[in-house]
Amino acid sequence: MDVSSIFGQLLSGLTTAMFLFLIASGLSLVFGVMRVLNFAHGSFYMIGAYLAWQMVHWLTPSFGSFWLGALAAALGVAILGAAIERLLLRFLYGREELYQLLFTYALVLILGDAVKATWGTQQLSVSRPPVLAWSIDVLGTTLPAYNLFIILIGPVIAFTVWLALTRSTAGRMVRAAAIDREMLGALGANVGLIYTGMFVASSFLAGLAGALVTPIQSVVPGMDVSIIVDAFIVVVIGGLGSFWGTFWGAVIYGQVLSFGILIFPGFSLFSVFALMAVILIVRPWGLFGQPIR
């Protein structure tokens, strides 16, 4: 194994990691604030991918069709998230976790079939946006510009969300809601609105991740149930509900997966699930989280 292949593996791991961060960040935000583990987050991601394909398909000859399509897809998923939270999910906040889990699983079932009914079961693909259709050589490894873009957008989004959470009034409210929902309500804040806002933001991130994955992976039914488990692993490694934890969790996951393939070919799948189990056993609250009260 020489330097260039290690470097190549590192970069491919980092690309996977930033993707997973885009998906897992929304999952982590919703869990941190609302204590709901959202299985349907993977479905939102899948719908984002399909909507992006559809928008790109319609807009194609025009300039910037990919970027407009991605944005429209993310917004569409955000609207879907708003409808689900307002019409259904909010009635389940006081209920046991089991019912919340099964509710989000019901969404997985319904949205999965809705996607099949709308777009069929064949693989769809989106070509890379022309602006990023080049690649560079770094230390003997070819790095597509699109992957570079993904590696950069992860930290940008992480930083943006972190700024919003720590420096804005709305962010302060969100953090307060995560700590003590009832007290915040007693002080006159509209906790229901904060929850809706959180769910919408999380859906937006899932839709965006789905849209941005289309140039790298083909869009197929079933991408929802496989990605959600990956996102769970990331969130568990970093710590359920810990935002920066999710970021570093994604980085660790990406590297374990990428070097796992190199070191134990065929057992990289096993290694990431084993990592998840070990972390839950040793530090259930994750590497960067805090034990819940």
Binding site: L102, A106, I110
Partner: protein, 331 residues
Amino acid sequence: MIARSEALLQRLPWTLIVFLVSAPIPWLGSRYDTFLGTLIAIDALFAVSLNLLLGTTGLVSFGHVAYFGIGAYVCGILMKTYGVAFSLALPAAALGAALFALVAGFFCVRLIRIYFAMLTLAFSQIVWAICFTWNDVTGGDQGLPEVPYPDLEWMSAIPGFDGLRSTDQFYLVTLVVVAASLAAIRRISLSPFGRMLTTIRENPERAAFIGVNVRAYELAAFVFAGAFAGIAGALFGISSRGVFADFVYWPKSAEVMIMTILGGMEYFWGPPLGAATLVILNQQITSWTEYWSLALGFILLVLLFSFPGGIVGGIVAGYRYARHRLAARRA
């Protein structure tokens, strides 16, 4: 009068009655009925084994399919690769699942609530990853096709059993195994041990205060649940003539959970009823549309929002309401 008939209703040996009612299906029904009966019996056992954790002990396991899958693979590998007899492969499947449940459960019962659910999910995905990638033993993504039927020729020697097809014979074997397992689980949940599990569900702190080793009890429940899921998995592998990695994929865990809740997890006969309902609905709905998941999703939504007690919970509530109205009218 009402109280006495209620007590009588509860004392009836229901497992035996259900067994006796469903045993003649191969003689009275069609080939399809036998197929459906086998499926229902297996899923009923799977759901009841989950309910030992979910309803009895209050542990939300999101990885119960791991033990089902291990049972299916152990039995399938022993019978297909090594030619072991079914009468040995079935207990081996239960043992294999129980052993893995002992290891996984040892760690899982140390965690609470959502962490418990996540760790059970992680263990089930580990099992899936192994089944999916270990080509030499499990067949990898190709699975293990053509698991042989057990040798049931001896059955034809019994008068009245000679005209049966091998699927009919296997249905009868399944029915006997499932009925015995259900009786055992019923016995476990009504024993002092089972009562203590329910105490733990209601209030683990208080159970610990009175000197109960909560983790040890939970672990024991976990192992029992795993073993019975393993039996169900072994039967399923044979009845579907092959074992595939899909058997162990996580959505299956959600499916059995839906069965349990659909029937009603507070009642022993809830999960079997839920399993029967779901299997029959699945057959009916898939016969005229491919969108079974969509239908299941809507069933689940109705269940969660309108009947959180499941079918049996709904029936009991309706019965209590009727009795209350009747008593009010008399007075």
